[in-house]
């Protein structure tokens, strides 16, 4: 009874109600879509970070990270690999030798982190090898189909393989900085196991390109056998074991399993090893929720203001209702229902619109490359795929409901305070 009266009351003044509904709908639509956009952007950053830059899990000597000293290495790596391979959550294991090194050409030099990897195993953990084919040079010059293979090989090369002679793979940004191309020679200096300076020449076989130019500039990959012999490391000694999991959601479970396997070693999840990625992941949701709260706060004020106006307008009518015997409780709940129903109508329309748009754009993506060249410098891909998870959607729905309820209390109390006799006398 009361809800249906409330619903009819809403539509007695169509324009006014529509203004509020449209405000709520647009606010939620905008808020949801913006959130999905930013969330999609940060999720992409995180997933690319895991694909190319930081493995989901890695096992290191507890003190290795301080200065990448070869003294703090993992010994008997093959045994540990076998132990790890038994864990059902682990799908890829790559033993890596890591050192800080100085790369030099005839004209310039640059400090880098050098990774020695076994190509076949590395491909099970890091998808970096895929980016070598994805060079802009290929897209820009659109070579004819006939010579595409040759062209790709000339401009961005190939990934490491065991049959190459002292190969190195570097990032596009570093290649530009050093002014080198595929087949150029680089001289790399580093400290060996005993702290003596050592070095060797490497030939560039491939140039990778990611969404993160900083990563491109600071990292290079060579064969583990080459690096180990330069650094006088036995073959069974590595700096880290990088792992890929069947499912990223099992991260903490897997980390725990690996920890109990090697109590003397330290296990890092990607959140520990790349705090910036972890921050993007953790902070984005919080900042989006606080943004939605501000939007809903603004909507709440719009709703309260409107309902106060409504009551002001209907003083006579409400007085009359009370005079003919409508109980205060009913008047109160009628106003409450009006407010909540008004909010919900706008809320449903807004959420539906917002979610619909997200669904529409989530496959094709939104290409920002024409007006945001800087994105790649901070590690973001220029094509954004908006994405929203159900948790966020439910949260927003709950927030809308709360807003409606909270906003309804104040006008309803005002309505209660009316005194029938006085109210009737007002014009």
């Amino acid at each position: 009874m009361i809800p249906s009266i409330a619903w009819k009351n809403i539509w007695r003044n169509r324009t006014r109600s529509l203004v509020v509904i449209v405000a709520i709908a647009l606010g939620l639509f905008g808020g949801l879509f913006a959130s999905a956009f930013l969330l999609g952007m940060s999720e992409q950053r995180v997933s690319e970070g895991i694909r190319y830059e930081t493995p989901e899990l890695k096992v290191l000597h507890p003190r290795f990270k301080e200065n990448l000293e070869p003294h703090y290495s993992i010994t008997d790596a093959p045994d540990k690999e076998r132990a790890l391979a038994k864990l059902p959550l682990v799908v890829g294991i790559s033993p890596r030798v890591i050192t800080s090194a100085m790369v030099q050409t005839a004209t310039t030099s640059s400090g880098i982190t050098l990774y020695g990897v076994d190509p076949a195993k590395e491909k099970t953990v890091s998808m970096l090898y895929q980016t070598i084919w994805d060079s802009t040079a290929v897209r820009k010059n659109r070579p004819s189909v006939a010579n595409i293979a040759q062209f790709v090989e000339d401009s961005c090369g190939v990934y490491l393989s065991d049959d190459q002679h002292i190969p190195i793979v570097i990032g596009e940004k570093l290649a530009h900085k050093l002014k080198v191309k595929v087949r150029s020679k680089l001289v790399i200096t580093m400290q060996d196991y005993n702290g003596t300076l050592t070095g060797g020449a490497f030939r560039v076989v491939g140039i990778f390109r990611t969404s993160n130019t900083q990563f491109e500039e600071n990292n290079a990959f060579v064969l583990r056998s080459d690096l180990s012999s330069l650094m006088v490391l036995p073959d069974s000694t590595v700096s880290e074991l990088a792992l890929r999991l069947t499912n990223e959601k099992q991260l903490n479970v897997a980390a725990q399993q690996v920890r109990s396997l090697f109590p003397g070693l330290k296990v890092y999840t990607w959140r520990d090893s790349d705090p910036l990625l972890g921050m993007i992941d953790g902070m984005m949701l919080i900042s989006l929720i606080s943004f939605m709260v501000i939007i809903l706060l603004a909507l709440g004020f719009v709703i309260v203001n409107t309902m106060l106006m409504v009551i002001l307008e209907r003083v006579r009518e409400l007085g009359m209702l009370m005079a003919v015997g409508m109980s205060k409780g009913r008047v109160f709940s009628m106003i409450m229902f009006e407010t909540v129903l008004l909010t919900l109508t706008g809320g449903v329309v807004g959420i539906a619109l917002g979610y619909g748009t997200v669904l529409l754009t989530s496959h094709s993506g939104i290409d920002l490359s024409s007006f945001s060249q800087g994105l790649r410098a901070i590690g973001y891909s220029p094509v954004v795929y908006p994405h929203i998870d159900i948790f966020f959607l439910l949260l927003v729905t709950a927030l809308v409901l709360t807003t409606g309820l909270v906003a309804s209390i104040f006008p309803a109390i005002r309505a209660l305070k009316l005194k029938p006799v006085e109210a009737l006398r007002q014009d």
Partner: protein, 407 residues
């Protein structure tokens, strides 16, 4: 005209409650917009301040080509006239000379590639406040022959205050250089990169070490306000010989950070736009109701011969009054909130805090307190209110007394 204003003023107070509600919608609009913007601007300027004061300064002057090829051969001769020219640019408040290059630092059996920076201990301290970062020993004095280095680096090399550090490098024009420096201070530098690789020695010592007497690789400068950055840079470029020197802003020196801040800012503006939309509708709704409630009253006025244009002007002035009162009240209402968070910034905790520290930032989110965005936001909300008032004002021209009177 005066009559119209008086009428409008009296009109708005005839129904106090209705007016207060309408004022309320403007009040909340400006309040929320101000708080949101203050939060955004605060976190950007916090980031900028951190970067500028951690090392780079707002502006740097180098010899032409130094930034692309950072070698001592791209250094320049320090001169009083050069300092004078730079100081004459309005806004520049501090000029800090530096001579920096890579070297190998050794102690015992440990060796590491480090960045050796020759600094004027007093001026440098004004820019980076390094004396406050000393965890052991004491900050350099101009006559010192000692070195100050980052904590992580000191730990790696195993040096302590009083130990002697050996530096080996290639100096100006290929001269080989090697010297010993007693460690005078160990510093806790915010950015891990710096903490792990920076060695500071007094400028005179560095010039001797690198065989580059009287030469510098850069002047780092502070300006009074980051908003005058591009202006100061342009003036400076005009003053200096562009064949010999390059002028770079922190935005060019720290491209990545600048882009991060810009991306954040675009994000912030986008969110602000959505907020404007919501509050705009709020104001529109209340104004619309105000007019529809008074339809009868307005129809009477038209019926007794009031010109519709005059009536529209009265309503417009009413909206203007209401908006202005709402704006003033909103600004006053927002001030305590912003002031509070300006003095008591929000502290981040957990992973976020750690990540911010690892990038060299204090993990705080301060609010901004500066006149310009107050003015800007007030103008935006004012314009929004006026646009929202267009429909109600024009609806006056649609009043038909015979019909509207009967309602």
């Amino acid at each position: 005209m005066k009559q119209i204003v008086t009428l409008a003023w009296r009109n708005i107070w005839r129904n106090k409650r209705r007016t207060l509600i309408t004022i309320g919608s403007v009040f909340f609009a400006i309040l929320l917009a101000l708080v949101m913007r203050s939060m955004q601007i605060g976190s950007y300027s916090h980031m900028i301040d951190n970067v500028v004061h951690s090392y780079t300064g707002h502006l740097q002057v180098h010899a032409k080509g130094y930034w692309d090829d950072k070698t001592l051969d791209n250094s320049f001769a320090a001169s009083d006239s050069l300092v004078h020219t730079i100081a004459s640019v309005p806004g520049i408040s501090l000029i800090v000379p530096r001579l920096e290059s890579f070297a190998l630092a050794s102690f015992d059996a440990k060796t590491k590639g480090v960045m050796v920076v020759g600094v004027d201990p007093l001026l440098e301290n004004k820019l980076t406040n390094l004396s406050h970062h000393v965890v052991k020993g004491s900050w350099l004095t101009p006559s010192d022959s000692g070195a100050a280095l980052g904590e992580t680096l000191a730990k790696y090399l195993g040096v302590n205050v009083g130990d002697t550090l050996v530096l080996i490098s290639v100096g100006y024009q290929g001269a080989s250089s090697a010297n010993v420096f007693p460690v005078k201070a160990i510093l806790k530098l915010a950015a891990p990169e710096m903490d792990n690789s920076f060695v500071f020695i007094p400028l005179i010592q560095a010039q001797g070490f690198y065989s580059a007497p009287g030469r510098l690789t850069s002047y780092a400068m502070l300006i009074d306000n980051n908003r005058e950055l591009s202006e100061a840079a342009t003036t400076l470029k005009h003053q200096l010989n562009s064949q010999k020197y390059e002028v770079m802003t922190w935005e060019q020196l720290m491209v990545q950070l600048m882009q991060q801040i810009k991306a954040d800012n675009v994000q912030g503006l986008f969110m602000l736009a959505i907020l404007y939309m919501v509050v705009g509708f709020g104001i529109f709704g209340t104004l619309l109701m105000m007019i529809s409630e008074r339809r009868r009253e307005l129809a009477v006025m038209v019926a007794v011969g009031m010109k519709k244009t005059k009536l529209a002007m009265i309503i417009a002035s009413e909206v203007m009054f209401i908006t202005l009162i709402g704006l003033v009240a909103g600004v006053i209402g927002a001030l305590p909130i912003i002031l509070y968070y300006y003095h008591h910034p929000i502290w981040f905790t957990g992973q976020t805090a750690e990540a911010m520290r690892s990038m060299g930032f204090d993990p705080i989110m301060p609010f901004a307190l500066q006149g310009d965005f107050f003015v800007a936001q007030s103008i935006v909300i004012f314009v929004i209110a006026l646009v929202a008032a267009l429909y109600p004002i024009f609806s006056i021209f649609r009043i038909i007394p015979s019909k509207d009177l009967r309602r």
